[in-house]
């Protein structure tokens, strides 16, 4: 009996010391949960997981758990739900445009509140065009990661078949319509077998529409994110043009065009020209069975595209040690070499000028010159639509665009309704 008791004591002591050991090991290692979205085709999840593994190899004291959380909207919903549940992620890639929403929710912490002023110099390394959506009130809230602009892809074979110069995409709206007419192919019964152009109108309808509005010379919101100008005459004109593509010129399918299947339509030769994010570039490169061109969006009064895509945010709930570790992770993920590799792997715009000077990127651009189109378009880029209560305001605009496209409202009426709704939503912020 005593032998047994002795054995028990020894066992207990051993267990206790083991637990203590494990405890101290855990205390040294910082655990980070990292939410990320995927909004383009291709093996993005694998690439992100590969990057975090590489990071952990170089930083053995930090453990990062990447969590794929859906498209951008779903990722935001998940992060905010987790926040209300008391366990938000430590770091997440969310739309740059959700900055005001995240600040209003008191969800995120500014980088300036984690780092000393002299350590904030690293934010100057990024393209200023991307930082405009990442800073407000003199503080930096997001660090650019998977950033993009909208670009135009075209099928060179279809251009040749239509008797067009395959090396030149449409440079302005008129050319887009003219070329679109030539590229729209109908069979003997009049059924369309190939459309001229596809501008998606689900998922990110407001983003595509904002491109048209910018080109037509109007901005949709003020810099503080408290006012929108959806029903400006130039904006109505832009929406009318989008509707006309399908209904008047008949170069685009009627009804809404799905965001997710648009690249597929392009691969299947159902559309000769498509507008989508540059983040799809590598997807198109791997899947298009024909030579394709990439160009800046056509101009009306001016060329232009909104910027888009996601920033790294750090959540307020994180402890000081976790915040430091998160900053280390963010800085590593957005370093020149990583940004270059990420751009090559996906097609997103490498977010800093020095990334374009790395040997890997120089080599890539030499072999695949269209990779630089989105970067060059940055000169004409305008920040993406971003307001307080962003999801709700963009939803009002999305609804208006879809109502106009499906013909249930006239563009002017639809945008007026959206403006009214946006004013109601923003009433508590406008001062």
């Amino acid at each position: 009996m005593t032998g047994f008791r002795k054995a028990c004591t020894v066992m207990a002591a051993a267990l206790l010391s083991l637990t203590l050991l494990a405890g101290s090991a855990l205390a040294e290692k910082v655990n980070l949960t990292f939410y990320f979205p995927v909004s383009v085709g291709g093996p993005i999840t694998k690439i992100v997981e590969g990057m975090t593994e590489q990071f952990m190899k170089e930083h053995p004291d930090i453990q990062v758990t990447p969590v794929y959380a859906g498209i951008y909207r779903e990722t935001l919903t998940k992060a905010l739900t987790a926040l209300r549940g008391g366990e938000p992620p430590h770091v997440a890639v969310l739309l740059s445009t959700d900055m005001y929403t995240l600040i209003d929710e008191d969800a995120v912490v500014a980088y300036d509140d984690i780092l000393k002023p002299e350590e904030m110099g690293f934010t100057k390394a990024f393209f200023p065009g991307f930082m405009r959506n990442s800073q407000t009130g003199g503080k930096t809230w997001g660090i650019p990661f998977q950033r993009s602009t909208i670009v135009m892809y075209w099928n060179k074979e279809a251009f040749k078949a239509a008797g067009l110069d395959p090396e030149k995409g449409p440079a302005n709206w008129n050319e887009l319509v003219e070329m679109g007419k030539k590229l729209t192919v109908r069979d003997a019964s009049g059924k369309v077998t190939q459309w001229g152009v596809a501008i998606p109108s689900t998922g990110y309808a407001y983003w595509m529409f904002q491109a048209l509005a910018i080109q037509n010379g109007v901005e949709l919101m003020n810099a503080e994110g408290t006012k929108t100008f959806f029903d400006a005459p130039k904006a109505v004109e832009a929406l009318q043009f989008l509707v006309d593509l399908a209904h008047k010129h008949e170069v685009s399918p009627k009804g809404t065009i799905d965001w997710a299947t648009t690249p597929r339509d392009f691969f299947e030769r159902k559309t000769a020209i498509m507008w989508t994010t540059t983040g799809n570039l590598t997807n198109v490169r791997n899947n298009a069975q024909f030579p394709f061109g990439v160009g800046m969006l056509p101009a009306s009064a001016r060329p232009g595209s909104p910027t888009g895509g996601g920033n790294f945010y750090i959540f307020k709930k994180a402890s000081p040690a976790e915040r430091k570790a998160a900053v280390a992770f963010v800085q590593w993920m957005t370093s020149a070499d990583r940004a270059a590799q990420w751009g090559i792997d996906t097609g997103y715009v490498a977010v800093r000028p020095d990334a374009w000077e790395t040997p890997a990127m120089k080599d890539y651009v030499a072999k695949f010159p269209v990779a630089a189109v989105a970067r060059d378009q940055l000169a004409h880029a305008v920040p993406e639509l971003s307001t307080h209560d962003n999801q709700r305001v963009t939803k009002a605009l999305d609804d208006a665009i879809q109502a106009a496209l499906t013909g249930s409202k006239k563009p002017a009426e639809a945008l007026k309704d959206a403006q009214k709704e946006a004013e109601r939503i923003l009433r508590r912020y406008g001062k």
Partner: protein, 297 residues
């Protein structure tokens, strides 16, 4: 214990209540408490970023009257119910008759009918997304072969809602069929034989004998179908996200959007009260009125 203190009847009552207690505790904790809490919450406007909620009285309910998206979702939901309930029930009954008729290969047929039920809704919706895809989706390929022009099924306001109704019916009918099949097998074959001897036609036998005997099952299925009509929104996430322009948005989907996308939980609570009201009305109608017409053996 002195036996004279409590009469046997009182003891029985106490026993009954004690036996009911665990179930009642669960219902109170997971149904009644949240419902009451939601009701209270519907009078408040959430504070942003952890600020305390502000009492706004009936403001949310007033906004219900002018919220066009809500009106649309409500009308859509009624149409969705009117579409899915009769269609899925009649389809389920027909399928049950078919697989109960003793045809060759009926186990294979039963399996086919039941498969949609066991598949997760999200997977099912992805399959249907391919069916509905414009230009090269299954539906369009068939129509193309017949020489018909293209329809953008999920991208037009006129067709989006019927499309999601079709998916819901397809998903539900197999599930309800199982209940009908079980009920059919409970019907003694002697009834059929007697009807045959009396010279009743097959149709007459089904109409006057089988369908009335199925009424308890029909009531049960009806309750479930009604609940499903207000509860089933999974496929919207994949197929249409409520679009285009809210043409296929349903009440519960709109509640999700308001509460979890916009974090306007106060208004979301007011919307939830409307949904609760509808379900209460439906169950009063079904149990109060219809049940009297049901023949239980």
């Amino acid at each position: 214990m002195p036996p004279a203190v409590r009469s046997p009847a009182a003891m029985r009552n106490i026993h009954a209540w004690l036996l009911l207690l665990p179930a009642m505790a669960f219902i109170a904790a997971f149904t009644h408490y949240p419902a009451v809490n939601t009701f209270i919450h519907s009078f408040f406007l959430d504070g942003r970023g952890g600020a305390p909620a502000q009492f706004v009285g009936l403001e949310h309910y007033q906004y219900l009257l002018e919220d066009e998206v809500f009106h649309k979702a409500l009308v859509n939901n009624l149409l969705f119910a009117c579409g899915t309930i009769p269609l899925s029930i009649s389809l389920a009954m027909t399928m049950a008759f078919l697989v109960n008729a003793g045809l060759a290969g009926q186990s294979a047929l039963r399996l086919c009918y039941f498969v949609p039920t066991v598949l997760p809704m999200i997977a099912v919706a992805n399959i249907w997304l391919f069916f509905y895809t414009p230009e090269y989706g299954l539906l369009e390929q068939i129509r193309g072969a017949l020489g018909l022009t293209g329809v953008n099924w999920l991208g037009s306001e006129a067709t989006a809602l019927p499309c999601v109704i079709a998916v819901a019916v397809w998903k539900d009918a197999g599930f309800f069929m199982i209940f009908y099949l079980a009920a059919l097998q409970q019907i003694p074959p002697s009834l059929g034989e007697a009807a045959m001897l009396e010279g009743a036609s097959r149709f007459y036998y089904y109409r006057k004998v089988v369908i009335p005997l199925l009424m308890p099952t029909t009531l049960f299925v009806l309750v479930n179908a009604t609940i499903n009509a207000f509860r089933m929104v999974d496929h919207l996430f994949v197929l249409t996200q409520g679009g285009p322009n809210n043409a296929s948005s349903l009440l519960l989907y709109y509640i999700y959007e308001v509460s979890f996308k916009y974090w306007d939980t106060g208004y979301g609570a007011a919307l939830t009260m409307v949904l609760l009201g509808f379900l209460a009305l439906a169950s009063i109608g079904q149990f109060g009125f219809l049940e009297r017409k049901v023949h239980y053996r």
